[in-house]
């Protein structure tokens, strides 16, 4: 295990180092698919430049990172490839996280005698599980999306690292530390983590007082750490400017720079008096699925995290390919679901084709002038449809596997003929 992992790391580092040194780095850093107004490295540098001029970085509309990030980079800016290292750190945490995940799975496997006999082929062998961490690492490190995001020095890598750290701590059972960490990043993770964190340890039971006690405790810790983080930011900068500039900017979507998401063109073409309504409708999508998902998947916290990450990266206001890479890294963990996936071939073809078409249509619109914005918009639509299909397909497969685990793989009707499974 150590040898292939080392080899993998070496390969990944080499690719990134080569790209950093090449002329492609500047080109990649400008790509709208890779960087968004929220996490572009250029904007971080601009924020630092403003800070050096003695101007609050939030007095303008260029910098939207949280205050802690800017002070972090204030000390680290000399190491320009910091994000490079950060992504290493992230991957290592994912690597650590995966085995934990597998132990849980193994526990399930040991209880296999609870399940019908014919389900054994649904349960992964220890040999398979041995390679899962490696596969996860490979999926993340060698994913072109991650590489692009890293070479562009998008702060998305940093964000991903904190989320991964959070997941690791959640699985290990000490979520509080990373809670604070994830709070200092953007609010989307913070929103679902709140629900997630107590779902993992205590079953929802309204009648039991211990549940309420735990919830209260957690809510208090959450609000406390939020308060501490915001106050810390305030004392670092001395103004409250960062609140509208960071959170207001994410929620009200004033910057319509094209990206791979659904928001930019929709709100560029929106009628002004419907703007607020649709803004609420679109933003609610991110938070909307948290509660039903955590109820439905209360026995499967890791899959819940995967689903929530995917939903966030599809419906967030400024998505980049770095966000997609994060939930794509989970796919090898669900390798046992492949037999239940319905249209994975089609979806992966669409995703690949769209990824290739993004730069082409961007060039035609912005540089060649022979296409217009509709071309690029059409590709973002298709890309998002493909992502939605991919995620819902995995969700379907997961639920179906759960059903088969309890009811046996080969279902029979009452009359003995082969039965088909339907959602009702």
């Amino acid at each position: 295990m150590a040898a292939p992992l080392t080899l993998l790391l070496v390969v990944a580092v080499t690719i990134r180092a080569a790209l950093f040194r090449s002329s492609l780095a500047d080109l990649i850093a400008e790509r709208v698919e890779v960087v968004s107004p929220l996490n572009a490295w250029k904007r971080v540098v601009e924020g630092l430049a403003l800070l050096d001029l003695g101007i609050s970085p939030y007095s303008g509309d260029v910098f939207h990172e949280t205050p802690l990030i800017i002070y972090l980079f204030h000390f680290l800016v000399d190491y320009a490839e910091i994000t490079f290292m950060v992504s290493r750190k992230f991957v290592s945490s994912v690597l650590l996280e995966s085995p934990r995940l597998c132990f849980r799975k193994q526990k399930y496997a040991l209880e296999a005698d609870r399940y019908p006999l014919d389900c054994l082929e649904l349960i992964r062998s220890p040999k398979e599980m041995y390679y899962i961490p490696l596969k996860v690492a490979m999926f993340y490190l060698l994913n072109p999306f991650t590489i692009l995001s890293c070479v562009a020095k998008s702060t998305c890598g940093l964000n991903n690292a904190v989320i991964a750290l959070f997941i690791l701590c959640t699985i290990k059972g000490s979520a509080l530390l990373t809670h604070t960490l994830s709070l200092c990043l953007h609010h989307y993770p913070a929103s679902f983590l709140f629900f997630l964190s107590f779902r993992l340890y205590i079953p929802v039971n309204i009648r039991r007082p211990s549940f309420w006690w735990y919830t209260l405790q957690y809510a208090f810790m959450y609000l406390g750490s939020l308060f501490v983080i915001i106050c810390l930011s305030f004392f670092l900068l001395g103004t409250w400017d960062f609140l509208p500039s960071v959170y207001g900017f994410i929620l009200s979507v004033p910057d319509l720079t094209p990206n791979i998401g659904l928001f930019w063109y929709f709100f560029a073409e929106m009628f002004e008096h419907f703007r607020l309504f649709f803004l609420c409708v679109f933003q609610i999508n991110v938070f909307f699925y948290t509660i039903p998902l955590s109820i439905k998947l209360k026995e499967h916290p890791v899959f819940l995290i995967f689903m929530q990450l995917a939903v966030i990266s599809i419906f967030k206001s400024y998505p980049t390919v770095g966000d997609i890479a994060l939930y794509l890294a989970f796919l090898p963990v669900w390798s046992h679901l492949y037999r239940f996936l319905r249209n994975v071939f089609l979806v992966s073809c669409v995703l690949l084709a769209c990824s290739a078409l993004f730069p082409v249509l961007w060039h035609l619109w912005i540089y060649a002038g022979s296409a217009n914005s509709n071309f690029y918009y059409a590709i973002t639509l298709l890309f998002n449809v493909a992502q939605i299909l991919l995620v819902s397909d995995y969700f379907y497969a997961y639920l179906r596997r759960e059903y088969h685990l309890t009811h046996g793989l080969y279902l029979k009707r009452k009359d003995g003929s082969e039965a088909t499974l339907v959602l009702k």
Binding site: E46, D61, L262, Y265, I388
Partner: protein, 650 residues
């Protein structure tokens, strides 16, 4: 009948008040004539604001320019011959109207033949009124000063107002420096009194009122194109408030200037366009020109030598450059009639002075061109750092109009050679880069002075939809990095305020200084685009303000006219002069959405969201079940019958 009876006491009241006025006026005049000999002449009264202003020059460079220009009048006739001296000194006295001494109107026209073959004509009309709009009491009796502007000053507590409308771009390299620079489009800058509490609200109202007065789109000035420069625009009048909270500056580079702006401007003149120099302003000629700029400047000036009280000065200027060379069928000659299709027959009767100056500096012996009718009056002045000689025609003298009772100056070129001295300071600007994603603004500033470096203040106002990255700012001169000694940067806020970049840069001698900064083009909402979005968006001119070393001071050998004891150290007032230049406005394209399909976009995007919602909802709310095939219709009917019969179903 009742109405008639009412009229009689009213008439008596009016008569009584009139008599009081007249008595007061007589007292006024006697008081003035008492102090008259000390003030010498109205010329000096006009220039009385000078000494305190000179004391202020160190703090307020812009003062320099105007003082220099007034110096023309003071120095005038000094080198001229004796008859002209007596004429100029006696002339104003004849036109001083004894009834209303507290306001005064002067008009003049300067014509400068340019080396490119074009003609530069600059009108200036100056009204000075010794009144106080701010003194609490309502000023309601107006004579020469336009009432509309007076009301604006008092209602909005304006301390200084400068507005210009310009069509075309002033080509500094071909034409030299203009007397009063102005950027293409409309420019407005206002200093408010420090008693104003809500400056932004007052500014908004003021722009709307001015928009009505000048028939211009000044109502498009809002917070997205208004800035508060910290150093570039200092007050030109008296007053010591330099807190830039009370300053507002805005340009509308897209504004198109035409007849509808000229007509209200002409109406502000005491004589309208009925008499005096304003007769020449025929719009079809004025707008058939390479450059047209009209401006209004209002400021408080000192009333007298001690500057104990202030008076208000209104300067209306109109600058035109005619391209007569190309339209004159190859003949290089011009006359007043050819330029304006009018000739002059009289001065404005209300004007205390009315003069035409023609720049004859390059033509001392008459070898370049020939001017007719010739005038014996010559005047010399240092204008924009250069010593110029002017032929003067005084319109208040009947002799000027000759036997024809009309003045039509004719200038015929003899040779076309002769080179213009390059302007010492010159600026250019352009956008570099391709595509609609990013770009780079390049500003070039040329210092043509052979051995002296001088600092310049550069002011850039960039709209918010071009997002500037200040960390990409570079200033290079002669291939070396030239760090600005002062930078004032205000980042933009989307849809709220523009970028403001001000910096103080030292220009090395004989060099080009290049300022570059990168920007990113924003995609706007579809309603925020102009009706012709693919034409592009205008970015206002950069403003370069500088104290430029004078050419006169540069010429250390010109001692022939001055005594030796006065020429070793460059004298203060001639060593440098204030110049403000404007670069070209920029035209930048932005990426555009498809304006024809908002409905389609809303429908399609909502469909995708619905697909996401639907598939997740489906999986969240339903559970897996083994499909039980439903029995056929015939079987179900048979079962119902069997049930009624009490037989077990099939």
């Amino acid at each position: 009948m009742a109405a008639h009876r009412c009229h009689f006491p009213a008439l008596v009241l009016i008569l009584w008040s009139l008599s009081v006025f007249i008595v007061a006026d007589v007292q006024e005049t006697t008081r003035l004539t008492d102090t008259g000999p000390s003030a010498a002449s109205s010329q000096q009264t006009a220039a009385a604001g000078e000494p305190p202003a000179a004391a202020e020059t160190r703090r307020q460079p812009p003062e320099e320019e105007d003082r220099r220009w007034e110096a023309t009048e003071v120095e005038e006739a000094a080198p001229g011959d004796a008859p002209s001296d007596s004429q100029t000194s006696s002339a104003p006295e004849t036109v001083v109207t004894p009834s209303q001494p507290e306001d005064d109107f002067q008009e003049e026209l300067v014509i400068r033949p340019l080396h490119s073959g074009d003609i530069y004509a600059s009108f200036q009309f100056r009204t000075v009124w010794d009144t106080d709009f701010m003194g609490g009491k309502k000023v309601s009796h107006y004579r020469l000063f336009p009432k509309s502007l007076g009301q604006v000053i008092s209602k909005f507590s304006v301390r200084e107002l400068h507005i210009s409308f310009t069509q075309g771009y002033w080509r500094t390299m071909q034409w030299g420096q203009p007397f009063l620079p102005s950027p293409p489009g409309a420019e407005l800058w206002v200093w408010f009194q420090d008693t104003v509490t809500d400056v932004d609200g007052t500014w908004k109202e003021l722009t709307n009122v001015l928009s009505g007065i000048f028939c211009a789109s000044l109502n498009f000035i809002d917070s997205t194109n208004t800035v508060q420069p910290s150093a570039s625009f200092k007050p030109l009048g008296i007053g010591n408030v330099t807190d830039h909270r009370f300053l507002r500056y805005a340009t509308l580079p897209r504004e198109i200037v035409c007849t509808e702006n000229l007509t209200p401007w002409k109406k502000l003149l005491p004589c309208g366009s009925k008499a005096g120099l304003a007769v020449l302003m025929k719009s079809e000629k004025l707008f058939h020109s390479s450059f047209h700029s009209q401006a209004v400047h209002i400021r408080p000036v000192c009333q007298d030598w001690q500057c104990k009280s202030t008076s208000w000065e209104l300067r209306q200027t109109l600058n035109v450059v005619f391209d007569l060379h190309s339209s004159g069928q190859g003949k290089r000659e011009w006359s007043l009639f050819k330029m304006f299709s009018r000739t002059l027959t009289e001065a404005c009767p209300l004007a205390s002075s009315s003069k035409i100056y023609i720049d004859v500096t390059d033509n001392p012996q008459g070898e370049q061109f020939e001017l007719s009718p010739a005038t014996p009056l010559l005047s010399q002045a240092v204008v924009l750092g250069d010593r110029r000689t002017y032929s003067v025609y005084d319109l208040t003298q009947q002799a000027t109009f000759g036997s024809m009772r009309s003045l039509n100056m004719l200038l015929r070129w003899k040779s076309s050679d002769g080179d213009m001295m390059r302007p010492l300071l010159h600026g250019e600007r352009y956008v570099a880069g391709y595509g609609l994603q990013t770009g780079e603004i390049h500003t070039l500033m040329y210092n043509h002075h052979p051995y002296r470096a001088f600092p310049v203040l550069l002011l850039d106002t960039v709209p918010w939809y071009l997002r500037l990255y200040i960390h990409t700012l570079t200033v290079t001169s002669k291939g070396k990095d030239n760090k600005p000694s002062y930078i004032h940067y205000q980042p933009s806020k989307d849809r709220v305020r523009p970028h403001l970049l001000e910096m103080l840069v030292q220009l090395p001698p004989n060099s080009v200084t290049e300022v570059t900064v990168q920007f990113e083009r924003a995609l706007l909402k579809w309603t925020e685009y102009t009706p012709d979005p693919n034409h592009g968006f205008y970015v206002g001119s950069s403003v370069v303000s500088a104290l430029v070393p004078s050419v006169v001071a540069m010429d250390t050998n010109s001692t022939q006219e001055r005594p030796l004891f006065s020429s070793f150290f460059p004298s203060k007032e001639e060593s440098s002069y204030f110049v403000r230049i404007y670069t070209e406005p920029l035209l930048v394209n932005l990426p555009t959405p498809d304006f024809s399909m908002p409905y389609n976009v809303i429908c399609l995007t909502c469909t995708v969201v619905a697909v996401g919602y639907g598939s997740l909802y489906n999986l969240l709310t339903r559970t897996f079940q083994v499909e039980e095939p439903s029995p056929g219709l015939a079987k179900r009917l048979a079962n119902i019958i069997r049930k009624m019969r009490g037989v077990p179903p099939l």
